[in-house]
Subunit: 284 residues, 2 copies
Amino acid sequence: MNAEVHSSGDAPVPVDDRGLAFGDGVFETILVRDGQPLLWESHLARLHAGLQRLGIPAPEPDALTVLPAQAGHGLAILKLMITRGSGGRGYQVPEDVQPRLRWRIMPFAPRSERWQDGIAVRSCAWRLARQPALAGLKHLNRLDNVLARREWTDPAIAEGLLRDGEGVLIEATAMNLAWFDRDARRWLTPRLEQCGVAGTLREVLLEEGQLTEVEAGPAALEQAEAACVFNSVQGVWPLERWLEGVRSDTAVLRCHWRLRDPAVQKPLRDLQAAAHARLGYPRM
Amino acid sequence: MNAEVHSSGDAPVPVDDRGLAFGDGVFETILVRDGQPLLWESHLARLHAGLQRLGIPAPEPDALTVLPAQAGHGLAILKLMITRGSGGRGYQVPEDVQPRLRWRIMPFAPRSERWQDGIAVRSCAWRLARQPALAGLKHLNRLDNVLARREWTDPAIAEGLLRDGEGVLIEATAMNLAWFDRDARRWLTPRLEQCGVAGTLREVLLEEGQLTEVEAGPAALEQAEAACVFNSVQGVWPLERWLEGVRSDTAVLRCHWRLRDPAVQKPLRDLQAAAHARLGYPRM
C-alpha cells in the first residue's frame, strides 16, 4: 500500500510528530552526482524494509524519485526522512497513519585525502544494544551512534569502532567495517543480525561477492592484513592506525597497517576500486 | 551548567533538530492539577539524569518551573521535551550545544474505572533491547515501546507486558509493573538495570518502601497474589486478567486475579492508596 505523504521539503515539523516524540521513522542519506542518485535502488530497498518493519505505509514511488534531480550540478547529499506523522495516543499509533516526508539537499565534498592516506580509528567504550528486530535498519533511534561519537573530539581520529553488548565487533559510528583475512584471503565484514546499520555500499559489495559476512572474533581485526571503514557517501577509508584513547597524541597504538606495503595495498586498493566504481569515485 | 534554551512552547521544530534526526533528547509527561505539578521533583530529577547522561546542558530551572502554572484549573498533562537542538556533523554533536525545549499542555481525565475494575493485559512478543547505559531514562528513542504497543488494537486489552532480550519481565509498554509476592508478603517490581523506564511513581513508591526491586523469574507474576501496572499520570491499575493473544475474545487466559477476594483486595488497595495519595487520586 502506498500512502499519500505530507511533504514540504525542509519545512519544520509539528511538535507532535512521532519522529520527534519517539524516533518513529526512518531516514536515508544519499550521494547525488549531477542530479543522479548513487545506489538508489539499495537506498530505496532499505527505506522500504524499514517502513515495513515499523508498519508505516510507503509513499508513492514518485514522491521520492523526483527528489535527486533537484540537487542540480555537482556532488550533493540528499537526506530524506519519513516519520509516522502525528497522532495516536502516546505510544499507540493512529488508526489512519499519515506519514510525513522531509528532505534536504546539501552540497558535498568527500574527504578524498583519506582514500589515499587512510585514517586513525579508536575503540568506543559505548556498546551497541542488541535488538534483532531492528538490526540493519536506518531508523531514527540513533542514540547509540550519537553517544559513541561523543566519546572523542580529536579530529585526527576519524572514526570509532563499536562492539555490541556481548563484545562482538559490529561497525564504526557512521560506517561499516571490513578486514582482509590473512588465511581466508577474503574481505570479511561483521554480520548485522543483532544490531548495526546495513549500509547500502556494504549491501552491493556483498552482492558482488567482494565481502563475506562473519561473526567477528575478538582478535579478527588485529590479525588482519588490511582493514577499512566505508559508506555510500564517503567511499572507502583504509585503516592506518587503531588507537586506544580519546586523543591521537596520547593514545596507545593498538595496531598499525603499513598502507605502502604491497601485501596491504593490493587487497585494499582492489576493494576500494570496486566500491568507488559504484560511487563514481576514483581508484587510488 | 545551565543552558539558555530555545523555547517557544509547541512551535514546530526545524527539520535539522537532533531530537527528530536521532532521538537525541529526553521528555517528561507530568500530571498537573490546578496548575500544580505532581511528583515534580521526581520528574525534574529524571529529566536531569537523562540530560546528564546524554551530555545535554540543563536549562535554567526557571525555564521549567514556570510551565505547570500555565495549565490553569483542572487536570492536565504537561509534556515537555528537551533536544540537543540543531547542528553538529551527522552523529557528531556541535561544540556549542543550544538545547531546544518544547512543551504542550493537554486537558486530561484518568481512566478511573480501571482503578476499581482492573484491566486485562497481554504478553508482548516484542523484546526490549538491553542497554544498561540508557536504562531507566525517558529519552526519545522509543521504538521498542511503539512497536510493542502496535501488536494489538483491541481496546479491551489495556496494556502489554514486556520482557527483555533474555526473557526477563521488565514493565508494560507505558507503565511500570509490580506484584505482591505470596511468600515475601511484599510488593515487588523488576530492576531496571538493563532496560525499561524508571517511572516517577515507581521512584517515590520505592523511596517510601512500598516496593522492592527484584530480578523477575519467569513465573513470578503468575504466582503472585495480586499484580498491577502504574504510572504518574494514570495511577494504579490492578491486573484482573493476563491473556495470551491479541484479541480479548479469543485469547487464552493465562492468569486471573479475583479482585473481590479479600486476599487480593487488601495488598492491592493498600498500594493503590499509597500511590494515589501522591497523585491526589482517590482510595478505592
